[in-house]
């Protein structure tokens, strides 16, 4: 219990440190949101300066940080210059879309990786395992970018999938079930792509963890007892191999918000990724800090969750 409390305190300190660091980074980097306006020959320097001070961009770092913290406590999380609204509602809407995408992708990936990894480990050295190894290595070496682009090309050429976006043109005119089908049609491709990208690492880890367990004495004993193979694999070997897998799961949760940046940008999925990239390029500082903080919260929570699960599931750790 004390251990958990300690971790919680650490987590909060970490988040504060991240917020200060992000803020400092933004202060230090050159340019601000109104630079694009400065390049417009029909707008004067005075107007830009006036707008800058109106939005508080020429105050000092501690003042701005304190104002931002106050805004966070009020639930607003600062102000977005690009969208002319508070940051918080922007974040929740986008985060929901991203979570929809990544949780589906994670589910898909795990559903495929577990059986595949187990089968590969059980048939270690045979052609099936080697073919699997080559396939995962090949998938690992293909950059995410390339994979998503190929999927996009596929979508356009065949029309089996939607070519981007979240909903169709006539979304509002559809019935409820048609709406559901429409959304599924649109996010099949990005979630498929994301699942395929995360699959190889999962398979490899599951495979190596299973291999280690399969070579241990108690499995040999179980085999000697005549326990059927499938039962042995899933009921005996898998739980013993779960230690690294739980860390991996925690890691999946931790990176849930950041893993999908590239796929969202390429396939126009309205999630946190495109928001972050655009905000960085436009120097929309509070949005950047907001997205970073949200991702950090997920990261820390995911690690914490992993530690918790590990604690609960693996008796060996409790002894320490």
């Amino acid at each position: 219990m004390r251990y958990l409390l300690r971790r919680l305190v650490h987590a909060i300190l970490l988040l504060v440190a991240i917020s200060i660091f992000s803020f400092a980074l933004l202060q230090w980097s050159s340019g601000d949101f109104f630079d694009a306006m400065r390049m417009n020959p029909r707008v004067s320097q005075q107007t830009v300066n006036g707008l800058r001070s109106q939005y508080g961009l020429n105050r000092s770092f501690p003042v701005r940080y304190a104002a931002w913290v106050r805004s966070v406590l009020k639930g607003q999380m600062g102000f977005s210059f690009s969208y002319d609204t508070a940051v918080a509602p922007l974040l929740w809407a986008r985060a929901r879309n991203t979570l929809l995408l990544t949780s589906t992708a994670t589910l898909l990936a795990w559903l495929v990786a577990i059986p595949l990894g187990i089968w590969s480990a059980a048939n270690k050295g045979k052609w099936g395992d080697r073919a699997c190894g080559v396939a995962t290595s090949a998938l690992l070496t293909v950059p995410d970018l390339l994979l998503f682009l190929i999927l996009l090309l596929l979508a356009v050429r065949t029309g089996w999938f939607a070519a981007g976006g979240m909903v169709s043109l006539n979304f509002n005119h559809l019935t409820f079930w048609s709406k559901v089908k429409d959304i599924v049609f649109h996010f099949a491709l990005p979630s498929l792509g994301l699942a395929v990208v995360t699959l190889p690492v999962l398979v490899r880890h599951i495979r190596s963890a299973m291999i280690e367990v399969l070579e241990s004495p108690f499995i040999r004993a179980a085999r000697g007892h005549g326990i059927p193979r499938t039962r042995m694999l899933f009921r005996y070997a898998l739980p013993a191999a779960s230690n690294p897998l739980i860390s991996l799961l925690g890691f999946s949760v931790a990176t849930m918000l950041s893993a999908s940046v590239i796929v969202e940008v390429i396939l126009s999925w309205p999630g946190l990724g495109p928001l972050m990239v655009q905000a960085i390029l436009a120097r929309d500082v509070y949005v950047v800090v907001g997205v970073v903080m949200l991702s950090s919260v997920f990261l820390v929570a995911g690690n914490f969750l992993a530690d918790l699960l590990l604690f609960a599931s693996d008796p060996r750790i409790r002894v320490e």
Partner: protein, 583 residues
């Protein structure tokens, strides 16, 4: 007693007649004759909806603050101005002001407003709304960028109400492009925004998350629905004040849906797939991809020729005395020599840029005014072909020479090397910089390209001056030279190569100042043209900017859209949105 009927008495009849007239007169405002504007397009028929892609979310629907393209495009469809610039002819025409007159000294404009026009919520439009709108635009505390456009001769224009349908504008000095001022300044509804203005909350008014019933505009469409991050739906304005030649009320379309599609490639894909009806302003590489499926998919592509955008290379000629940049300051000895700049210009392969960067769909430029600006381009400007020999002669005469291995060195023996700054988000300019880098290597110059994100680049160009050369592009909002005053006048805020001048740094910049200020107050077009031609000639000789190319404006639309007449001024495809209809 005599029984006389009151109706028979002459005096009663007289008083009754007066009473009727008075009654009729007092009832008149409720039935003012509506003065509609009759358009001259081929008539279409009502109905249908179209989908258009937007590259980014609109930032605001408040015309006083909208600076980005997405917001401006939507505001254009929802609002109207007093005098409008016809994007096809590039000349002004009447809009909410049905006529106007100019005083003899050119400093007073009296506008007659159309009567019987109503906002999209049904409330009447009159001079009070005009006064209110200009009050807002001119208010210093609001910080609207529109205010800068309304400062003539150092003083903001003054507006005065004559009567309910007539206003007068006073300018501090005669101004050639005065009529064009009014285009793009939508008239705001006083009845909806006055409270916010008095409370000081005007800057938060009409943000994108406002409910649609709080908007009212004079444009062909009004806001129906906004879904953040996805779409904006506009519906027909039933009170719109334009009719076609057959008397049908405009607009024809029932709805316009703006879909948010953040990347151009995604827009092209969705257009090809039939999700959107209009593809506005796409890049040359996608033209050949779309061209193949034209007939099969039922759309048509339009290459409208060069727009107003001009891309250029320029050197850092700023005064670096107060900055700690000794290496750049040393190199400025090269950059400041006009022969060096002329040699660079002579060595650049503009045809190669047109072919490789824009797939042939661009025009090479030797001056800042493109051929698309029909009224102002100086057709007598020389277009010298690329000549490395000429470049070498110019360099020799400026004291440069070549080492044995071909490296160019200056008179002190320093090898000529510098960097070209460009924005990483603009692929075309990065390509141009790469081609220039290769061209200049033939002269023995060691050039490398540095790409930064836009904000970082702008910071270096405008604040820290920490750059050597840069490739940039400018696209003025209007064809008229006055829109570029800040670029060419030496004290201007976008006089990029040498900012913050208190007095002109060179004789030719002083001459440009004189010519630009002169054309500002010259009302006669021919005289203005001659003055501006001279400016173009000086720029082409002195080369503060080395112009490269201007891309063609490319748009696409489905065949089923009638009255589609894209133009090279923004908004390219939707400038006549009220005339579009579905065949």
């Amino acid at each position: 007693m005599l029984k006389v009927s009151p109706w028979k008495s002459a005096s009663t009849r007289f008083f009754l007649a007066i009473a009727c007239v008075l009654f009729a007169v007092s009832a008149a405002p409720a039935q003012v004759h509506e003065e509609r504007m009759v358009t001259n397009n081929p008539p279409g028929h009502a109905g249908g909806e179209i989908a258009v892609a937007l590259r980014s979310d609109p930032k605001t629907l408040n015309p006083a603050f909208a600076m980005d393209a997405a917001s401006q495009e939507i505001i254009y469809c929802m609002n109207a101005d007093l005098i409008h610039i016809n994007r096809e002819t590039q000349q002004t025409e009447s809009a909410l002001a049905k006529s106007w007159s100019v005083s003899r000294d050119g400093r007073t404009y009296t506008l007659q407003l159309r009567r019987g026009v109503r906002f999209s919520d049904g409330k009447a439009f009159n001079a009070d709304d005009v006064i209110f709108s200009f009050q807002v635009y001119l208010d210093k505390k609001i910080h609207s960028p529109e205010r800068d456009l309304l400062i003539i001769g150092g003083k903001p224009i003054a507006v005065q109400k004559i009567n309910d349908y007539s206003v007068r504008f006073h300018l501090a000095q005669p101004y050639a492009a005065a009529e064009r001022l009014f285009d793009g300044l939508p008239i705001l509804p006083k009845h909806l925004l006055e409270t916010a203005y008095r409370n000081g909350t005007f800057s938060q008014a009409w943000g994108v998350s406002m409910p649609p019933d709080q908007f009212a505009g004079l444009g062909p469409f009004r806001l129906k629905k906004y879904v953040a991050g996805q779409r904006i739906v506009l519906e027909r304005n039933p009170c719109y004040w334009k009719v076609d030649s057959q008397g049908n009320q405009l607009p024809y379309l029932n709805e316009i849906v703006f879909l948010l599609v953040p990347s151009e490639d995604a827009q092209v894909i969705r257009f090809q797939a039939g999700d959107t009806d209009i593809l506005s302003r796409f890049s040359a590489e996608n033209f050949s991809v779309l061209e193949r499926d034209q007939a099969a998919q039922g759309y048509h592509l339009y290459d409208l020729g060069p727009g107003l955008e001009y891309n250029f290379l320029f050197f850092n000629l700023n005064d670096l005395a107060s900055k700690n940049l000794p290496q750049i300051a040393k190199k400025q000895a090269w950059f400041r020599d006009v022969r060096f700049r002329q040699a660079v210009s002579s060595a650049i392969d503009r045809e190669g840029i047109v072919r490789l960067v824009y797939d042939g769909r661009a025009t090479p430029l030797w001056g800042q005014v493109t051929p698309g600006n029909k009224l102002w381009v100086d057709r007598s400007l020389p277009h010298p072909p690329r000549s490395l020999a000429r470049a070498r002669e110019l360099l020799k005469s400026a004291g440069f020479s070549w080492k044995g291995d071909g490296t160019l060195i200056d008179a002190h023996g320093n090898p000529v090397e510098f960097s070209i700054l460009t924005s990483s988000s603009n692929a075309a300019r990065m390509k141009m910089a790469t081609i220039i880098q290769d061209d200049l290597s033939h002269l023995g110059m060691n050039v490398h390209v540095v790409s930064l994100d836009f904000s970082a680049m702008v910071d270096r160009l405008l604040n820290s001056f920490d750059y050597e050369a840069a490739v940039m592009g400018m696209a003025s909002g209007d064809a008229d030279p006055t829109s570029e005053m800040n670029v060419w006048v030496s004290s201007g805020g976008t006089h990029l190569w040498h900012l913050n001048q208190t007095k002109p740094a060179t004789p030719w910049e002083a001459e440009i100042d004189r010519l630009m200020n002169q054309q500002l107050i010259t009302l006669n077009y021919e005289r203005r043209k001659r003055l501006y031609d001279q400016v173009q000639q000086i720029v082409a000789q002195q080369l503060p900017v080395i112009c490269l190319a201007s891309p063609d404006i490319l748009v696409g639309a489905k065949d089923r859209i009638g009255n589609f007449h894209p133009a090279i001024l923004e908004p390219y495809a939707l400038w006549n949105v009220e005339e579009l209809y579905i065949r």
